[in-house]
Subunit: 179 residues, 2 copies
Amino acid sequence: MIYFVTSNRGKMEEARAMLGMELSQMDIGYPEIQADTLEEVVIFGMKDLAGRLDGPVMIEDAGLFVDALNGFPGVFSAYAQKTIGNAGILRLMEGAKDRGASFRSVVGYAEPGEEVRLFRGELRGKIAFAPRGEGGFGYDPIFEVGGITVAEMGLQDKNRISHRGQSIGAMREHLSGRT
Amino acid sequence: MIYFVTSNRGKMEEARAMLGMELSQMDIGYPEIQADTLEEVVIFGMKDLAGRLDGPVMIEDAGLFVDALNGFPGVFSAYAQKTIGNAGILRLMEGAKDRGASFRSVVGYAEPGEEVRLFRGELRGKIAFAPRGEGGFGYDPIFEVGGITVAEMGLQDKNRISHRGQSIGAMREHLSGRT
């Protein structure tokens, strides 16, 4: 059994399905620092959590990195979504020729007293010209892969290709290779 | 003598001039958390610094809060400046009727073993329609007060009215009232 420290029940259910193992959601919070990379945020959070739980611990952080915006909103994706939203991103991208972007996910995992391991996932795509689709959440309606937005995909398709599917898949491989 | 923990020499010189007392710049770093308010960032930083220095400690955090953008870029002002810049803010404000905004500053100050005290400053203004002026830095060229941008003001005028001038002024009053 692994403690997944997150306030997001949907994220936990996704991870449980992808890992195929028992997870226990712990909504106990940890400081998220301002940094340029998800890796720094995850490492700092894992340090804060070290010793607070009596078993293996995982956390996950994700963000949208837009090429033409120098990586904005990046580590601050949740805050940008809450304030300027998808409409803000589309406005910033008006006239941009390069619409390339990445969804990135970093998972941190550690067993008690052990080093933190990081697992990464990245989904390359393009910022759409307008939001489309009803599925997903956050930036999904404006992030296009192969002509359709992530919000237009089924959940199974999304999990198969998504940044989070990849990072959690890498963690699953690590765990299964080890036992 | 007070330790001012900052990597920004200009900020330190401004504070020294405004406080009229001896400051020692310490570029030793502290974690800045992702939060909705400057107060949370400063309190977390001060907790991290507690016990690390052998005398009174101060830090300062500041940001631009735009009304029509739900407070964006706020606590993330430095990152937004580095990625989307003033051009990005102007683009997000295209067509906005309400151009009101605030520069805010929060100073944290503590003597060894004592509670942290916070001192606040706020400068109300408007987001200009285009950048103007050569002075200042960051968002100064697009932040207007009384028809001129902060980048068009002299440094003395700026320090008299600025958010940082106010927060550091409040700290000075606290210190002088106490001795």
